[in-house]
Homo-oligomer: 364 residues x 2
C-alpha cells in the first residue's frame, strides 16, 4: 500500500493516530471527552497536510497539561450573552474544547438570528484555525475564526516582534462538498519554512524575516535566530504594512475584544511546557447564508469554478482555490492508507508512549 | 497660509470642495440629500489623503449619472431581515447612499442584538471602504466593510485578472478619539502607484503586477498596459496566494453572499460612464464591543500605544498604527486651511463647472 514517500517515513492509519493522541491526553489529566476533541483537531491538521499543527504539537500540549499551565478538564463558561453574541471564559481549558464550545454557540446563534459572534478569553493554542470554520461549514454556515499568538512578528518599521502569526480562517460551503477554506497566518510565512531553508543551507527571499538590525535578511540562520517574522507583503515597499494591519486586526478581534492577553503581553512560545497561563483571546463567527440571497452554495461553486478555470501562467500549475491543496492531501492520505509521519515524529511518539505508559503507536 | 507644496497646487477649502461636489451632483439628476451623502464621502477621502478616491472620482460618478448607469435618486430597500442581518437591494443607487443605509442598519442591529451584518446587491462604487467603518466607530461600534470591484487582479498562477482590488476595512474606537482604521486593497498596490512609476520612468518592484505572460514584470509601462495587479504578498514564493485568498474572501462576502455580480461577471472599469448597471456586492458589519469584555476602548488604546512605541528600525520612521497616516494628513489640511489639489484636478473641476453650469470651484 505504501508509496515511496511513505516508505521513507512511518505510515500510520488515521484512526491509530487518533487513538494514540487520545491515550496520551487521557494519561495527562484530561477526561476522555476532552481528549477526543483535542485529538480530532490534531488528526485533522495532519490529514489536511498541516503536519506542523498535528501530532507535532502533541508533546507541547502534554507538557502544558503536566505543568498545569493548561487545565485539561476545564469547561468554558459564558460570561455575557446577547441574541447574536457571547463572551466566553475558556477557564484555561484545551484550545479545541474552548474553540468547539464557542463555534457551536456561534452556529446556534446564526441559526436563530443570522449571525453568531463569540469571543473567548483564557484560552490556549487552538490548532489550525480552519478546524472551526469547517465546523461552521458542516452546519451550512459561513465560518470565521481567529486567534492571537505569542509575539513573533514585527510591525512595519519596528525592530522587534510585537504580534503573533495571528491567523485568520474563513470558510464557506459550496455545492456537493465543494467549498472555500482560507486558513492563513498574517505573516509572510511560518517559522517552519525558515527552518527548512536553514537545514538545506539555502537563503530565504527578502520579505520573510528580519535580522537583528530590523532590516530584512536573506540568511536563513540569522532569520531563525532572530525569530522576527515579517508581515504578509514583506517590506514597506511591497505593502507589508497591510499584513501588519491584518495581524493587528486579529489582535483587536481576539485579545482586545475578549479582554485576554494581547501583543507583547502574551507569554513567549515554549515547547517545554509553560510556567504561566497563556490567556489567549479567540474569535469565532458563524453567518447563516440563508438570510441573504437564496442559492448561496451554487454561486460559491460557480465562483470556485471560475477561479479554477482561469488561464494558467504555467500549464503544469493549475489555479487553485483556498482549501484545494488540503483536499489533494486528504485524497493522497486516503489512497496511501495512512498519515506519512517523518521518522523523527515516530521517534517522539515512542518516547511519549514510554514516558506516559501508553500503547506505542502502530506503524503500518 | 499656503505651504510650498500647496502653492504649486490649488488649495481649496474643505467646505468649498463639498459645495462644488454637491452642486455638480444635483445638476446630474441627484436629489440634494443624496448629493450631500456622496459629497461627504468624497471630501472625507481627500481630507484623509486618499486623493484618488475623492474629487478625482467625481467626474466618473457624474458620467454614470448622466448615462443612467447609476440612479441618483434611488432609495435602497430591505429584501430580507433577521434580528442580526439584512439583505438589501441598492436599486442601483449611489454607492454612498446604499452604503450609509446599510451601515446605519448594521449599527442599529448591533445596538439591539450585538452584531449587525448587512449585505447589498445592485450597488455602485462606494468610495473609500473606511468611510463606513468610521461611521460605525462614531456610534461606538467596531465596523467592517468590504466591496467587490471590476476585475483587475490575478489569482495566483492565473495569467489574467479575475478579481478586483477588493478592499477590506476594519475600524475600532479607542479612548479620547484614538482608534484603529485599517482600509486596504487586497492587491499589493493600487493602479495609481504603477502609474506614478511610469510617469517617472522608473521600474516597479517584483510582486506589484504581472506582464502579459502572467509572470511578474518590473516594467511600469508593461504593467500599466497589462492592467493585471498581483495580490498582496506578490509571487507564490512570498505567499501571494494569501492576498489572493483575501481577495476571494471579499468576493464571497460581497458578490456571492449578496447575489450581486462577482469576479469576471463584473463590468470592466470605465471613467467615461458605463453602459450597464454595475450590480456590485457590498458587506457592512457592526459589532457592539460592550457585549464583550468591559473597557474595550481603553485596551484598544493600550494596544495602539504598544505598537506606536515599538523600537524603530530607522529613527526617522516611527512605527504607525492603521489610520495614523490619515490623521497626519487631516492635521496638515487643517493647518494649511484647505485641500491641496493637483492643478490638473482643478482644471477638470473648471471643465465640469462649465459642462454642468455650476459655480466654479474657488481656489484660495
Amino acid at each position: 500500500m505504501s508509496t515511496t514517500g511513505a516508505a521513507k517515513k512511518g505510515l500510520v492509519a488515521v484512526e491509530e493516530a487518533r487513538r494514540f493522541m487520545v491515550d496520551c491526553l487521557v494519561k495527562s489529566n484530561t477526561p476522555p471527552a476532552h481528549a477526543k476533541q483535542q485529538a480530532d483537531l490534531l488528526v485533522e491538521a495532519d490529514y489536511r497536510g498541516h503536519f506542523s499543527h498535528g501530532m507535532n504539537r502533541l508533546e507541547m500540549y502534554i507538557n502544558d497539561l503536566h505543568k498545569n499551565a493548561c487545565n485539561g478538564s476545564a469547561v468554558p463558561a459564558v460570561l455575557n450573552e446577547t441574541p447574536a453574541t457571547a463572551w466566553v471564559d475558556g477557564n484555561n481549558g484545551l484550545g479545541a474544547v474552548v474553540g468547539n464550545f464557542c463555534m457551536d454557540l456561534a452556529i446556534r446563534k446564526a441559526k436563530e438570528v443570522g449571525v453568531g459572534w463569540v469571543c473567548a478569553k483564557r484560552s490556549n493554542h487552538y490548532g489550525i484555525a480552519g478546524w472551526y470554520t469547517l465546523r461552521a461549514m458542516n452546519a451550512g454556515c459561513i465560518g470565521m475564526s481567529m486567534t492571537n499568538t505569542s509575539p513573533l512578528a514585527s510591525p512595519t518599521r519596528s525592530k522587534e516582534a510585537a504580534l503573533g502569526t495571528n491567523p485568520i480562517s474563513v470558510g464557506a460551503p459550496g455545492k456537493d462538498g465543494d467549498g472555500f477554506v482560507l486558513d492563513m497566518a498574517t505573516t509572510a510565512v511560518a517559522v517552519g519554512k525558515i527552518e527548512m531553508q536553514r537545514r538545506k543551507n539555502e537563503p530565504i527571499p527578502v520579505g520573510w524575516a528580519q535580522g537583528p538590525d530590523g532590516h530584512p535578511t536573506t540568511d536563513a540562520s540569522v532569520a531563525f535566530d532572530t525569530a522576527c517574522l515579517m508581515p504578509l507583503g514583506g517590506t514597506e515597499l511591497t505593502s507589508g504594512y497591510k499584513g501588519y494591519g491584518l495581524g493587528a486586526m486579529v489582535e483587536v478581534f481576539c485579545g482586545v475584544l475578549a479582554g485576554a492577553n494581547y501583543a507583547t503581553k502574551i507569554r513567549k512560545w515554549t515547547h517545554a511546557g509553560a510556567d504561566s497561563e497563556a490567556d489567549l483571546g479567540q474569535c469565532f463567527v458563524a453567518i447563516n447564508p440563508a438570510c441573504f440571497a437564496p442559492g448561496f452554495e451554487g454561486r460559491l461553486s460557480d465562483l470556485t469554478g471560475i477561479l479554477r478555470n482561469m488561464p494558467m501562467t504555467d500549464p503544469n500549475h493549475p489555479v487553485l482555490v483556498a482549501g484545494d491543496p488540503e483536499l489533494h492531501h486528504m485524497a493522497m492520505v486516503d489512497k496511501e492508507g495512512g498519515l506519512a509521519y517523518h521518522v523523527n515524529q515516530i521517534k517522539t511518539c515512542s518516547e511519549l508512549s514510554e514516558r506516559l505508559g501508553v500503547k506505542p503507536i502502530e506503524v503500518i
